[in-house]
């Protein structure tokens, strides 16, 4: 349908965006690609009074090397992340996952910052950042701070960011190890019913899509691997301690089963890729 009435402001810089947001943080929303926010507004589930459009902030659209990290501007669109040579070389998991989001239209509008800030447990990119042990740089009226990805996702569509903060950069360590992303969906363009991002590099990190209220790490799997378990043994613990959602596509029980199968496949694939 059509959204409730709102005012539209376009920010010309990060500072301006943060200032506009600060005027009434609880009633205002940043608009990036709009592909998560606008559907909610059209259903009138979100009714911000002012939209602050940051979609055209070219200063925040980049993928570059920064020492032993790859730094990605929050307004980088999924298609640009997928294509960026720096990402392909130093963060191949992230680049690959960006290419698995939705369909081409979605990938040409949606941004990594919007995907992370929205904190949807069904999103693909947050899981990839978790598996890579990345972090997020946010800017507020008081300046910058950097938050580890594993501390960032706090509840359903809830993050550690304050309403007056803006996400500006996503950082992941350069990775030379094995990686895999297993996305189980019915149609090529669909969200994951369950997804698994894995990175195997000395220690292993495994993150899950759509297995709880937030994007999350499969801690039991990681612990088992650290203790020397085989991929198969570790994978059998994929749903331990989790309360996956149930919907028309999948019951909680089916999601738990899929998580076990997909974690095993992801670990096998990542290990094979590592060589």
């Amino acid at each position: 349908m059509i959204p409730a009435p709102f005012e539209y402001r376009r920010a010309g810089s990060v500072d301006e965006a943060v200032a506009l947001l600060a005027e009434d943080p609880d009633e205002r929303k940043l608009l990036a690609g709009g592909h998560s926010l606008l559907p909610l507004m059209k259903l009138r589930l979100a009714t911000p009074t002012v939209l602050v459009d940051v979609g055209r902030l070219a200063e925040l659209s980049y993928v570059r090397e920064d020492g032993d990290h790859v730094a990605i501007g929050a307004l980088t669109r999924h298609c640009d992340l997928e294509a960026a040579p720096v990402a392909r070389e130093h963060a191949p998991l992230l680049s690959h996952v960006a290419g698995q989001v939705g369909d081409p239209q979605v990938r040409h509008r949606g941004t990594i910052g919007g995907s992370v800030a929205h904190g949807d447990p069904a999103s693909d990119l947050p899981a990839a950042v978790l598996a890579l042990g990345g972090s997020f740089v946010v800017q507020g009226p008081q300046g910058h701070r950097e938050l580890a990805a594993e501390d960032f996702f706090q509840g359903f569509l809830e993050t550690a960011m304050a309403p007056d903060e803006m996400l500006t950069e996503i950082r992941v360590p350069k990775s030379g190890g094995g990686w895999a992303f297993q996305k189980f969906n019915r149609r090529a363009q669909d969200w994951a019913i369950v997804g698994v991002a894995a990175s195997v590099n000395g220690s292993s990190r495994v993150a899950l899509v759509n297995m709880g209220p937030t994007p999350l790490r499969a801690r039991a799997v990681e612990a088992a691997l650290a203790a020397g378990a085989s991929a198969e043994e570790a994978a059998s613990r994929a749903a331990e301690g989790l309360e996956p959602p149930a919907d028309v596509q999948a019951s909680a029980e089916y999601r738990a089963h899929l998580a076990r199968v997909l974690v095993r496949r992801a670990l096998e694939e990542a290990t094979a890729r590592r060589g």
Binding site: R44, D190, Q249, L258
Partner: protein, 767 residues
């Protein structure tokens, strides 16, 4: 002269569609247009105690807020009509006044200057609905203690038909297989939802632009509702973005928009949103079938007993179309000596059901084809071989089935053997055996269906006139919305009149120009509209010969039409073109010969018994035994639609049908929670497949002409939905057969397949 029959003429109507300049209802501009938003019930069943519109009326831009009581419109009756002497007809209200019977039922119409204003105001209309227990499941609706939607009927059964009697149809069978199959409900999901724009023109005539398959049905309903004569209403259909049966008939919204335009004296427009469309557009399928099929040890069928329960949704309306057709087609392609059949149509607190591509035929075919595969499994016989032994043979036609279908012509075995050859059936079975032996995690399944369907019942109007410049104007009662009638009817007339395609104009879908018509649905238009055009065209040729004979001062029987010229046989130097003849028709001499009608003829081509297209489809699937995921690897479709007028058009129709057949097999389902709320309120949940989910289609044909029309053609618009779904379902169950799984209901999504594997104790699927 070369014939265009059978030639792959590229579609003549595509240019504006492909360039995006074709106009749909939502593209039509009319100064001063107001916009309607319907307020719809969130409650499935209850008494409508009152509607408070006061706040909405205060909103900016609001022109009016109307309830059922304000408009006082008559409801829409049942189609097909009730058998004479049965119960009183039940009408579907054009805005309900006393009760709501499904989530999404309209209770008020808000009219505002802009669409956004109408949306805002509609949020403030408060419908006071006293919640009552709802019945959602069709079998639950049959229980004695179920809530009854229409107390005057005493139960939720709105249609009923019985066949057979005292004798046990399974007597003498060595083997009997039984099953309960759910043929799930589907949404039609045309790219363009329903839409109506209505306004009074300068002469006070009410003009209604609708996205429809049957403008004359809308015309009739609007005239009845508003008490207007037929010439005081004009219904026009612009470009239509798909209908699939769901845009046949008449919708309450269309009548209401017309009534509002009449009352307000202004243009009024309603365009459905997608979510609204998923509740307001008629839904298709929806049947629960209990079937028992008996055979002798050698596979020869002995008899069948079946009960088919068909969902109608909240109002009878158009539910009886699929009800009647699934019953009619329950015999399929086989010789079934004994049959006992109970067909029940039930109402539930869900959106109304209507015909959807296939409309009863897919339901019947799915029931039979699953039962046949169960039987093959029980007999340990190859499913193709079982079918070979039971198919009706060419010498059996014409054949009247126990259900009363009058099959025209067929060579079912021919289609099956063609399929076996094209698909490389034996090679597929060998690959399957190897993968089974190797214990592959991903197993191969091969499924076959053989089917017959019904097409082209009833009549269609067509006329042909030669314009003074010699060009041909064909007026048809068919109402194309993607099928390519302009191309195919032009081909028919180019042959009949010996004129080039670009000299032919096909006029349709405007009740001010077309005198009458039935519309486009039920795979009818090529054969009925095409035959009407042909017969009218041939009559015009006869009239032209008379005229030419007069002009050439020759005897009529000596005048021939050859190479597009009328000439005296043996004297080619003296010849007349169509333009010459058309000019002569306008002269006094010409009028003396032909009267005022001139070079004009019309025809209502009638085919009461319809024609019966058939075919054989094969699907190859891979099933991941750990996750339950099904990948469709191949779909091979051998269809027989009689003579093929245009192979491109036929392939396009088969492709579209196959995609929707695949959708039913693997992806789509309309379902409701126990309160009657839709579980798939948007396309995200509904999950219609796209090009990315399907393989390239492999098509084959056999050609068995029908004797029932002069073109020898049968319909082909729905065949894909009839054959593909059971072929795929059979393929998935074929893959699961080694694990002892014998049934999984449609759609075969990964969770359901996984549950079956898990319950069967397959190692990778177990927790």
């Amino acid at each position: 002269m070369q014939t265009l029959f059978g030639f792959p003429v590229a579609r003549l109507e595509d240019d504006p569609l492909l360039r995006g300049v074709a106009k749909y209802v939502a593209d039509l501009e009319r100064p001063g247009t107001t916009h309607v938003v319907f307020v719809r019930s969130h409650i499935a069943h209850g008494r409508l105690a009152g509607i408070d519109v006061s706040e909405a009326l205060e909103m900016p831009g609001v022109v009016g807020v109307f309830t059922g009581a304000d408009l006082g419109l008559p409801g829409i009756g049942e189609f097909p009509p009730l058998p004479p002497g049965s119960r009183a007809e039940i009408f579907r209200p054009c805005l309900t006044t006393d009760r709501v019977r499904h989530v999404g039922e309209a209770v008020a119409a808000v009219v505002a200057e802009t669409y956004a204003q109408a949306v805002d105001a509609a949020e403030l209309v408060v419908a006071d609905i006293e919640d009552e227990p709802a019945v959602v499941d069709p079998l639950a609706a049959l229980e004695p203690d179920a809530p009854v939607l229409f107390p005057e009927l005493g139960s939720n059964v709105v249609r009923e038909a019985h066949l057979g009697g005292d004798a046990d149809p399974l007597a003498g069978a060595d083997v009997v297989v039984r099953g309960r199959f759910v043929n799930q409900r589907l949404a039609a999901v045309p790219l363009e939802p329903n839409g109506t724009l209505a306004y009074p023109d300068e002469d006070g005539r009410l003009v209604c632009w609708v996205s429809s398959q049957s403008p004359f049905q809308v015309l009739g309903a609007v005239c009845r509702a508003l008490g207007r004569d037929r010439d005081r209403v004009r219904v026009v259909v612009p470009a239509v973005g798909g209908g699939f049966g769901a845009k046949g008939g008449v919708y309450p919204e269309q009548v209401i928009v017309a009534a509002l335009a009449d009352r307000l004296g202004r243009p009024v427009r309603h365009i459905e949103t997608r979510s609204e469309n998923l509740l307001a557009m008629s839904q298709g399928r929806g049947a629960v079938q209990d079937v028992e099929l008996g055979a002798r040890r050698d596979g020869t069928l002995v008899g069948m007993r079946a009960r088919m329960v068909t969902e109608f949704g909240a109002y009878p309306w158009r539910g009886a179309i699929a009800f009647a057709t699934s019953r009619l087609m329950a015999n399929g392609v086989y010789r079934i000596p004994n049959m006992e059949l109970t067909a029940l149509g039930v109402v539930t607190n869900t959106p109304p059901v209507g015909p959807y591509r296939g409309a009863g035929r897919p339901e019947a075919a799915a029931m039979l084809e699953r039962a046949m595969d169960l039987l093959a499994g029980e007999l340990e016989m190859d499913p193709v071989e079982l079918r070979r032994r039971n198919l009706l043979r060419p010498e059996d036609f014409p054949y009247v089935t126990p259900t009363g279908a009058s099959y025209d012509s067929g060579d079912y075995l021919g289609a099956l053997e063609e399929l076996v050859k094209e698909a490389g059936y034996d090679g597929l079975r060998a690959e399957q055996a190897a993968r089974r032996a190797a214990g592959d995690r991903v197993q191969l399944g091969i499924g076959v269906s053989t089917f017959v369907e019904v097409s082209g019942t009833g009549s269609e109007y067509g006329s042909v006139r030669i314009a003074p410049d010699g060009h041909v104007v064909c007026v048809t009662g068919a109402s194309p919305h993607g099928q390519g009638h302009v191309t195919t009817f032009s081909q028919v007339l180019a042959d009949a009149l010996q004129v080039p395609l670009d000299r032919i104009e096909v006029v349709h879908s405007d009740t001010a120009v077309v005198p009458r018509g039935t519309g486009t649905f039920g795979s009818r238009s090529g054969q009925l509209g095409g035959s009407a055009a042909l017969v009218a065209g041939q009559a015009v040729v006869e009239r032209a010969r008379q005229l030419a004979a007069d002009a050439l001062e020759a005897a009529e029987e000596d005048v021939v039409l050859a190479e597009g010229q009328f000439a005296v046989a043996g004297v080619p130097s003296r010849s007349l073109s169509w333009a010459d003849v058309a000019r002569h028709a306008e002269t006094d001499a010409g009028r003396t010969v032909l009267g005022d009608d001139g070079l004009f003829a019309e025809e209502d081509f009638d085919q009461a018994d319809g024609t019966y297209p058939f075919g054989a489809h094969l699907a190859v699937v891979e099933v991941d035994t750990e996750t339950g995921r099904v990948e469709l690897r191949r779909i091979v479709a051998v269809d027989d639609c009689g003579r093929i007028l245009n192979p491109i058009i036929v392939a396009g129709q088969v492709h579209g049908g196959l995609l929707q057949g695949i959708a039913q097999a693997l992806f789509e389902e309309v379902s409701f929670d126990e309160l009657g709320n839709p579980r798939a309120p948007t396309l995200i949940e509904y999950g219609a497949p796209t090009a990315a989910e399907v393989p390239s289609y492999e098509l084959g044909h056999t050609v068995t002409p029908t004797p029932r029309n002069p073109l020898g053609m049968k319909g082909v618009g729905e065949a894909g939905t009839v054959g593909a779904t059971p072929a795929i379902q059979n393929a998935v169950l074929d893959a699961l057969a080694p694990y002892g799984v014998t049934h999984v209901d449609l759609p075969l999504g990964p969770m359901k397949v996984w549950q079956a594997l898990r319950d069967a104790g397959v190692p990778g699927a177990a927790p």
